[in-house]
Amino acid sequence: MNALQHPWVVAIAVLYALALIVSVPALIRRARRGILVALCLFGLAFALNTTLIVARWTEAGRPPFKTLFETMIFYPWCTGLVTLTLIALRRLMVLIPFASAVSVMGLAYALIRPDVELVLMPPALQSAWFVPHVVTYFMSYAALFASFALAMVALYAERREGRLALAGGGTVGGGGPRNAAGWQAHAHGAAIFGVITLTAGLVMGAVWGKYAWGDYWGWDPKESWALVTWLAYVIYLHLRLMDGWHGRRAMVVLVCSFAAVVFTYLGMSMLPTADGSLHVYQ
């Protein structure tokens, strides 16, 4: 029995989709019960997602992070973990629809283009660095996604503030800050966690590269784009320290910087330099 057979993936995708459908109107109408239902659906989807990854790990006898298909199941899990953590710490229910939407997209891809059969681990990936490197990167990408989502909420909150100046209503339902500055701070916090893990992932990749190939840096397209992503967020960190770049503009930069993450993750095969790359998903 293949742990990644369709029913499992479909079930998880449906639960995430339900969480998305329930959460959007509930958040807009501030319906407390609806938000709780969405959270339960999301939590259930996350639990099943966890089980699926554990089952696949057991079945494959290796970490299930090797192929694009496998990461399309792992990335939803990472965004789920970050979302649930932020809900637990900061009551940021607003992340549920964002995380659900990205999870549905990932799982839909997994359904459309599943791995036909288990891919065995090539010698280059048989390393103790594989799991820390990949997991750190995916946690970073999930945190940066949260910062992207929160930056959008912050931009939305700012527009609402300007137009309506709601008295004490908050931006959306489901808790969280009541003004744009609060949302910006949350987006920034997520970005910082993302940048720290991004740096750690980059450094681990370099150390691993040294062990595997004798080079800690080889200007492989994926490496280069990982650097571009890192530079984009480092630019954000510097911009944010400047006068006039604290609020709205910083959020726009955060939203735009996430494009670098997406391209680094999914866009490599578009590059003419991808042929010789050691990182490109086949």
Partner: protein
């Protein structure tokens, strides 16, 4: 993640707020910082160009350019010094950092959009002659190692060294700032050290080879020359370890341009339920035999119902194989012995003296034509290929060709002979009545005398039948085993030389397990030998929309695709050999003494005396050959220290520092 309260405690612009007051009116902006970066970049490139030109100029001619370069350099330094405060403020400004990081980002992106380090022809092919020429002259084929990119890194180092000074980063709360900024400088310095005093190359060895030097290579992997190691490496063993063979049922679907994509994969498991393949097709496996065999075994039967058999095991240099001879069966009653021992033949009855005499005689090959004329008269002709013969009835027969082992080649649409052995003796003849008409040719088969290929006999013409008499030459050496008397006869040129009982008559022939069976039949026994996946065969039922369910036997070692109605194909096959590991077992030899052994694998390099050896290559056609990458990188510890400083510094900035500030504020 940082709490909003902590955020609020952070000074919004720490660099400005703690900047040392310098008497300068400079207000950084993106425009001014961009201009400054462009100027510094141009200066750095110009300096680099001049330096390079001076370095390669002949000694005598270098005086003037060196003088000019020094003068210009001094001028630049003087100008910079006069505006040092402005420069300092600009280089340490946030605006400049953003502009510089943006420039590095652009350069990095460019390096991924253009193919790097490829051959010049590839650029012409990809981008056209004109652009390729421009790109190559600008070094865009190796962007990350151009003067321009290195100039940016140089400016980055300068800025990163000045920024902590301006921000007084040695104070405890700012250690993170110090670490993250200087960390990058340290990494880049480590890289420079590696480039200047490191070495990189390849070491290619076969098992048993010893090497005390390796071949230096450059970035394009071109070989530069030998470099000594200071010790020797001996390759004891190289082994490629594969994952266990996996046998799967695969479905391939045709895609564009003769490309097939694997669209399904299943484990071959017996299952009562049908497994859908798609487009209405489905299959189920009814039997799996991992170690299928098909053997011909002898079953003894009552006398007269079977043939007589001789079985033995013949041992030779490369092992042993079974010998099974059937008395009286042409070709199956003899086997060629090794060396010049002749043949071993098995017969049930001992040859009579007359038969022995016949065996000693020599008979040539004979081609006979039995001709039946239209009026019923018969005649027999002995013919030779190339001959022409007059028949009694007046026609003429031409014998054109003789094919001892006739076969018809569909490609050339002509008759050929597959061997010199008279397996299917055939001749090509034509019958004619006069010379004016080219007569049609026909093939006559000795084994199928009633069949005629080509033009048949004319009505009213003669009918021809071909008979072939195999020639006979006495065998120079023959060992004849006689079953009924259990005797061994030794013959030379057909003459009986010796006679011995079976028990000791064959001792010089390396035969073992000798057995004579008076009456037995050969039977095919099929089945599964073991659970080892040596020769898996499955029984499978397949049904698709267009066809009714059919039963198939599929052997993975001889995969035959089953075509489905939608054009895709189902195959039972062995999955490609996936490599589990490449392992070079090496010994280190110092001063003639073997001092260490190590197995080098991917991800497990050997470190020895400043060198690291990485498993990097192998050859499909030479299993004893290994390719090792050799790297000497004295800058590596520096780089690692830089990594640590960067990672810890960044963490400090956003975790320890807010905590320290909070404590200081008494929150």
């Amino acid at each position: 993640m940082t709490h909003p309260v902590q955020e609020a405690c952070l000074p919004a612009t720490p660099s400005q707020s703690t900047a040392r007051p310098l008497p300068s009116t400079f207000r950084p902006s993106f425009i001014s910082c961009t201009l400054l970066l462009v100027m510094l970049w141009a200066l750095a490139i110009a300096g680099g160009r001049v330096g390079r030109a001076v370095a390669v100029a002949p000694a005598g001619e270098a005086m003037l350019p060196v003088g000019i370069a020094i003068a210009l350099g001094a001028l630049v330094v003087a100008v910079c010094w006069s505006m040092r405060r402005t420069l300092y403020l600009a280089l340490t400004s946030l605006h400049f950092s953003v502009v510089l990081l943006g420039a590095l980002m652009l350069g990095t992106v460019a390096g991924t959009l253009l193919v790097q380090n490829a051959a010049a022809e590839e650029y012409a092919l990809r981008y056209g002659e004109a652009f390729a020429g421009l790109a190559l002259s600008m070094g865009l084929n190796d962007i990350f190692h151009t003067l321009g990119f290195n100039a940016l890194l140089g400016i980055l180092i300068l800025s990163l060294l000045l920024v902590p000074v301006r921000n007084r980063a040695w104070q405890l709360p700012r250690w993170g700032h110090l670490g993250s900024h200087l960390g990058i400088v340290v990494i880049l310095f480590g890289g420079i050290i590696g480039n200047l005093s490191g070495a990189k190359g390849v070491l290619e060895m076969r098992e048993g080879d010893t090497a005390d030097r390796f071949t230096l290579t450059n970035r394009q992997r071109a070989r530069l020359g030998p470099e000594t190691l200071g010790f020797s490496l001996v390759l004891d063993d190289f082994a490629i370890d594969y994952y266990d063979a996996i046998y799967r049922l695969h479905v391939y679907t045709p895609r564009a341009e003769d490309r097939w994509e694997m669209t399904g994969s299943w484990e071959p498991e017996v299952d009562e339920d049908w497994t859908p393949i798609g487009n209405g097709a489905k299959f189920r496996v009814t039997q799996v035999m991992p170690d299928y065999r098909s053997d011909q075994v002898l079953r003894e039967v009552a006398s007269g119902q079977g043939a007589a058999w001789f079985t033995a095991t013949m041992e030779h240099d490369h092992g042993a194989h079974d010998v099974r001879l059937q008395a009286g069966a042409p070709q199956r009653d003899l086997v060629t012995l090794h060396g010049d021992a002749g043949v071993l033949r098995f017969a049930w009855d001992a040859p009579s003296p007359a038969e022995l005499d016949a065996a000693a005689e020599f008979h040539p090959v004979r081609h006979l034509l039995d001709v039946t004329a239209a009026d019923g008269a018969t005649q027999t002709l002995e013919v030779e290929p190339g001959g022409r013969y007059e028949l009694a009835s007046g026609e003429r027969v031409d014998v054109h060709e003789y094919f001892p082992h006739f076969s018809y080649d569909m490609e050339t649409r002509s008759g050929i002979s597959l061997s010199d052995q008279p397996v299917n003796p055939t001749i090509r003849v034509s019958v004619s009545t006069d010379d004016t008409v080219e007569p049609p040719k026909q093939w006559l088969f000795a084994k199928f005398p009633d069949q005629v290929m080509g033009a048949g006999p004319d009505a009213g013409g003669p009918t021809l039948r071909y008979r072939f008499e195999a020639g006979h030459a006495p065998l120079p050496r023959e060992v004849l085993v006689v079953g009924s008397t259990r005797e061994v006869l030794r013959l030379t040129d057909g003459r009986l030389l010796a006679r011995a009982p079976l028990d000791d008559g064959l001792h010089d022939l390396d035969l073992a397990d000798i057995r004579v069976v008076a009456s037995a039949v050969e039977e095919t026994v099929t089945g599964n030998r073991s659970d080892e996946w040596n020769n898996p065969v499955i029984h499978l039922e397949l049904a698709d929309g267009a066809h009714e369910a059919g039963s198939h036997v599929l052997a993975a070692n001889e995969p035959v695709p089953l075509r489905l109605a939608d054009g895709s194909a189902l195959v039972f096959e062995r999955r490609g050999d996936d490599v589990r590991s490449y392992a070079s077992t090496v010994g280190v030899v110092e001063n003639g003494q073997r001092v260490a052994s190590h197995v080098i694998r991917v991800n497990e390099p050997l470190h020895w005396a400043g060198f690291k050896f990485y498993q990097s290559n192998y050859r499909k056609d030479d299993p004893t050959w290994t390719g090792l990458q050799v790297v000497k990188d004295p800058g590596l510890p520096v780089v690692y220290i830089g990594f640590l400083m960067l990672a810890l510094g960044l963490t400090w900035v956003y975790t320890v520092r807010p905590w320290l500030l909070k404590r200081r504020l008494g929150l």
